[in-house]
């Protein structure tokens, strides 16, 4: 059993996926699929909230990259939220995830940025 928790929130045309727990090879692909299904084509953007995620490894990163590719193909925006100084944020930095999608410190920051776009 994986240790990933997922909550989907919708704010108008933005889908917010709150991912909690530990995201590793065990839960990465299923979580990615679940998030992908939660985003209708009508949605403008997806915010993946990793603010409360305890752990992420390369499998989780790969899942995020895969999401970014898919959403990019559908002209949907992807934003990622990671707490500043958190291990998750450090990993995202290391793999230079900000080249695939912008990283925000809070969900509100991410949503606010999307509204301004």
């Amino acid at each position: 059993m994986d240790l990933v928790g997922l909550e989907i929130e919708k704010r108008e045309d933005i889908v917010i996926a709150h991912v909690t727990g530990e995201l590793d090879i065990l839960g990465a692909s299923s979580t990615g699929e679940a998030i992908g299904e939660a985003v209708p084509t009508s949605a403008r953007a997806l915010v993946v909230d990793l603010g409360r995620l305890e752990f992420i490894d390369s499998s989780g990163i790969a899942m995020l990259f895969s999401l970014a590719r898919r959403l990019g193909g559908q002209r949907q925006a992807l934003r990622v939220v990671a707490g500043s100084g958190e291990p998750v944020q450090r990993v995202l930095e290391l793999v230079e995830f900000d080249r695939a999608a912008p990283i925000y410190e809070t969900v509100d920051d991410a949503v606010g940025a999307l509204s301004r776009d």
């Binding site: 752990f55 490894d57 990163i61 990993v91 290391l94």
Partner: protein, 828 residues
């Protein structure tokens, strides 16, 4: 020579003698009166005649009183007178003939010796007369006068002797007859049985005293009347007449009857009687004579005795049967105490032979396709011909199954086979066998059949029970963790025992889950109720709890949400106790929320166990919004926490505090290793393995950390969580900073993930992780037994990039036998 009785009485003799004297006197008188020879002395003769007449008269007068000796004297006088008359009459007269008279008289009336004496006296007297008279040829005269009457006298005497003898015989016979008759009379009268004789017409001829008593008629009343009239009930009289005629028919050969009949007393009462009747033929006619006896007493006694015997026999039989039945009952009950078929069968085959006095027993169970397989045996496999499986009709057991009837056999051992029937189907066959001389009776058969009927039902129930139990157990198992997570640095063990008496799945449950961040959650719950309802609720709670935990909620919030779930979704009144313990070995802390559950038990090292009170609240489902609080405390390394359900500590009629105290004592005495601890607790508290209520037990121990560690993982993604947890704990122990800790764990996770993904399919292979801490430098070495996948462009390359980015040194050594990744980083 015996004395013969006198034929004549003395008076007769006297009167006869008197007659002779008178006749002699008359003779002499006539001689004088009639013309006679001149030589006759008339005077002398006349005087003699007168004297004779006088004697005769005197005798006549005194005839009744004369004694025998007086008669002898008179006879001597008479002989003398005859001699005088001869003298007076002279030679020419025929007076010697008068000597004939005393001789004949003596011969006739006197006994032998007296007669001789008188004959001799007469001879002497005449001899004297002849000597005096001196006639010619005196000898001839003497011989004629004495010899002739003497011979005549002898003949007379002889005749009289004969007469006397006959007289004696007749007297004796008479006496005998008299005696006999008297005796018979006495016998008949004293006979206890009534004696009755009737003649051809049925008229009573004999009627003894017992008959008087028996029938109420005296002999004088009865004799002369018809028996039918006074003693035979009217409706039976025709039959009586018929019987009598048949018996008295001379052509009937069997002249004896023993009859059972009904008689009537004088007062009209009736009674059963037995008559032993014989046909008696006498000169006076043909009679039916017999004894009658009132047999009502005898019949009653016989009936009583028969009843008594019957009762005794019945009681003996009943006791024997009761003994057998109770034996059978006992063993059947004993067998039925088992809930599983195996238990029932094993118990039966071992106890049935004892009850029936048999040597061996076997139970065959019917399978699909009408085949019998051996279920259980003791002392051999009777009825099977050594074959298994048996087709119906094959072997003794097969024949019983085919016939669906109990069967007895002797070939040469005695065997009983009874079919086990349930729902009209042959579900098996019970065969009992005994060697000679033991022979089975139909009683044994019916008993075994009774037992078999009950057993068949029980076996069928057991079969259903086993199926239900299997379903329940499967369901239960599906609700309980299939296996506990392997957590290096932690030891965990769990046990679950379903209640012995319940086929239903219980409401006890437990879970062990990894909590994001390295903690371990221990859950012990008990949902009120049984069966599928409770089971499905357990399933929902388990899933919900895991989901809530993954969402990162605190323990009290997780429990609150579970309460919400039960409050809103469960059936009215359903409630549950729950204990949620979070152990964070890395932090050395333990927190718990207790919703009405027995408190967890904590033991550290060799210290005394203590129950963790506090953190308690009402059970789930009682209130809509109860307040749940977490209580936490620091735990030393080598701490063991024990969670359980009340089934472990509760005993009927006992205060639960006693059970808790007992548990604490046992935990204190047991080693801290969770597996051994759990086994010992169950062995002590549930010795038979069959608890009255469900029992769930969970123990977790934290193993102390040190500078070095060595663990093995299965190369599975699931192991990663445990590995991270261990690393977190160890790095905490190494006093790594938060950032360092996360980065080292991430790097090690990458190495492990890579190893898992590419270490080949070998299931038996392991990942070996070792860690060492030397002067602030952490070194982790991960070995696998697969081929290292050369980093290519793209995702996998990200892993190694991460490792390199996160660690000071990353060293990968790949060989055909496996790959070793060494990571090191110096802590600040």
């Amino acid at each position: 020579m015996r004395d013969l009785p006198e034929l004549f009485h003395s008076p007769v003799k006297a009167r006869s003698l008197a007659f002779l004297f008178c006749a002699g006197a008359l003779m002499a008188g006539l001689t004088i009166a009639l013309p006679h020879d001149a030589s006759i002395d008339e005077l002398g003769l006349g005087l003699t005649a007168c004297a004779a007449a006088l004697v005769g008269a005197g005798l006549l007068v005194s005839a009744e009183r004369v004694a025998m000796w007086q008669l002898h004297v008179v006879m001597v006088i008479g002989t003398a007178m005859v001699a005088l008359a001869n003298e007076f009459a002279g030679v020419t007269a025929l007076y010697p003939l008068l000597f004939t008279w005393p001789i004949l008289y003596a011969s006739y009336f006197l006994e032998r010796r007296a007669a001789f004496a008188h004959v001799a006296l007469a001879g002497l007297a005449y001899a004297i007369v002849l000597v005096i008279q001196d006639p010619p040829s005196p000898y001839v005269r003497w011989l004629l006068a004495i010899g002739t009457p003497a011979i005549a006298g002898a003949l007379i005497f002889r005749l009289l002797d004969r007469l006397r003898a006959e007289r004696v015989e007749s007297l004796e016979r008479e006496a005998l007859l008299e005696q006999n008759e008297a005796r018979t009379r006495i016998v008949l009268d004293s006979a206890p049985d009534a004696f009755v004789a009737i003649d051809r017409e049925g008229v009573i001829r004999t009627w003894n005293a017992a008959a008087e008593r028996l029938l109420g008629w005296s002999a004088s009343e009865a004799v002369g009347r018809r028996l039918a009239e006074i003693a035979i009930p009217p409706e039976l009289r025709a039959a009586h007449d018929e019987r009598r005629r048949a018996l008295l028919d001379p052509a009937e050969r069997d002249a004896t009857r023993v009859l059972q009949l009904e008689l009537q007393r004088r007062d009209g009462s009736r009674f059963p009687a037995e008559a032993r009747v014989s046909r008696v033929t006498l000169r006076s006619g043909v009679f039916a004579a017999g004894f009658l006896r009132d047999v009502s007493d005898r019949l009653r006694r016989e009936a009583e005795r028969e009843a008594l015997l019957r009762e005794q026999a019945a009681r003996a039989e009943a006791e024997r049967v009761a003994e057998l039945v109770s034996g059978m009952q006992l063993l059947v009950d004993a067998a039925l105490a088992h809930r599983t078929r195996r238990g029932i069968l094993a118990d039966l085959v071992t106890s049935v032979p004892g009850v029936l006095g048999a040597d061996s027993a076997a139970i065959y169970l019917a399978e699909e396709g009408d085949r019998l397989v051996l279920g259980a045996t003791s002392g051999g496999t009777p009825g099977g011909d050594g074959k298994a499986p048996l087709a119906f009709g094959e072997g003794f057991a097969g024949r019983v199954a085919a016939a669906r009837q109990p069967m007895l056999a002797e070939d040469p051992d005695a065997m009983i086979g009874v079919p086990l029937l349930a729902g009209g189907q042959v579900t098996g066959v019970l065969v009992v066998c005994a060697s000679p001389p033991r022979v089975f009776t139909s009683d044994d058969l019916s008993l075994l059949r009774l037992a078999a009927d009950r057993v068949a039902l029980a076996i069928d129930h057991a079969r259903l029970y086993e199926r239900e139990l299997k379903i329940a157990e499967t369901l239960q198992r599906s609700l309980l963790p299939e296996h506990l997570p392997h957590m290096p640095g932690l030891e965990v063990a769990a046990r679950y025992l379903p209640a012995a008496a319940e086929a239903e799945v219980g409401g006890d449950w437990y879970d062990v889950l990894s909590i994001p961040g390295g903690a371990v959650g221990l859950v012990m719950g008990d949902i009120a109720g049984k069966g599928l309802g409770a089971a499905s609720m357990v399933g929902r709670m388990r899933s919900a709890l895991r989901a809530y935990v993954l969402e990162g909620h605190s323990a009290p919030l997780v429990v609150s949400q579970l309460n919400r779930l039960i409050w809103t979704e469960a059936q009215e009144g359903q409630m549950a106790t729950l204990l949620f313990v979070v152990v964070d070995p890395a932090e050395g802390r333990m927190g718990w929320v207790n919703a009405g559950h027995p408190p967890p038990l904590l033991v550290t090292g060799n210290g005394r166990p203590r129950f963790l009170e506090g953190g308690g609240s009402v059970p789930l489902g009682v209130l809509p919004f109860p307040e749940f609080q977490e209580t936490s405390l620091n735990v030393e390394p080598d701490a063991t926490v024990v969670l359980y359900t009340d089934g472990l500590v509760e005993r009927p009629g006992e205060n639960i505090d006693l059970g808790l105290r007992r548990l604490a004592e046992l935990v204190h005495a047991a080693p801290n290793d969770p597996q051994i601890l759990c086994d010992q607790l169950l062995a002590s508290l549930i010795p038979d393995g069959a608890p009255a209520d469900d029992v769930a037990l969970l123990a977790l121990r934290t193993i102390p950390m040190s500078e070095r560690f060595d663990v093995e993982f299965a190369p599975e993604p699931e192991a990663l969580v445990a590995m991270r947890s261990l690393l977190r704990r160890w790095l905490r122990y190494a006093k790594a900073g938060e950032g360092e800790l996360a980065e080292i764990i991430t790097a090690c996770g990458e190495a492990a993930t890579n190893a898992i993904e590419h270490s080949g399919a070998g299931r038996d292979t392991t990942l070996e992780l070792s860690g060492s801490l030397e002067s602030r430098t952490v070194e982790l070495t991960l070995r696998d037994h697969g081929a290292w996948r050369t980093p290519r462009e793209g995702q996998p390359g990200r892993g190694i990039a991460l490792m390199r980015g996160l660690m000071d040194e990353v060293d990968v050594t790949a060989t055909p036998q496996g790959t070793t990744v060494r990571l090191s980083r110096t802590l600040h």
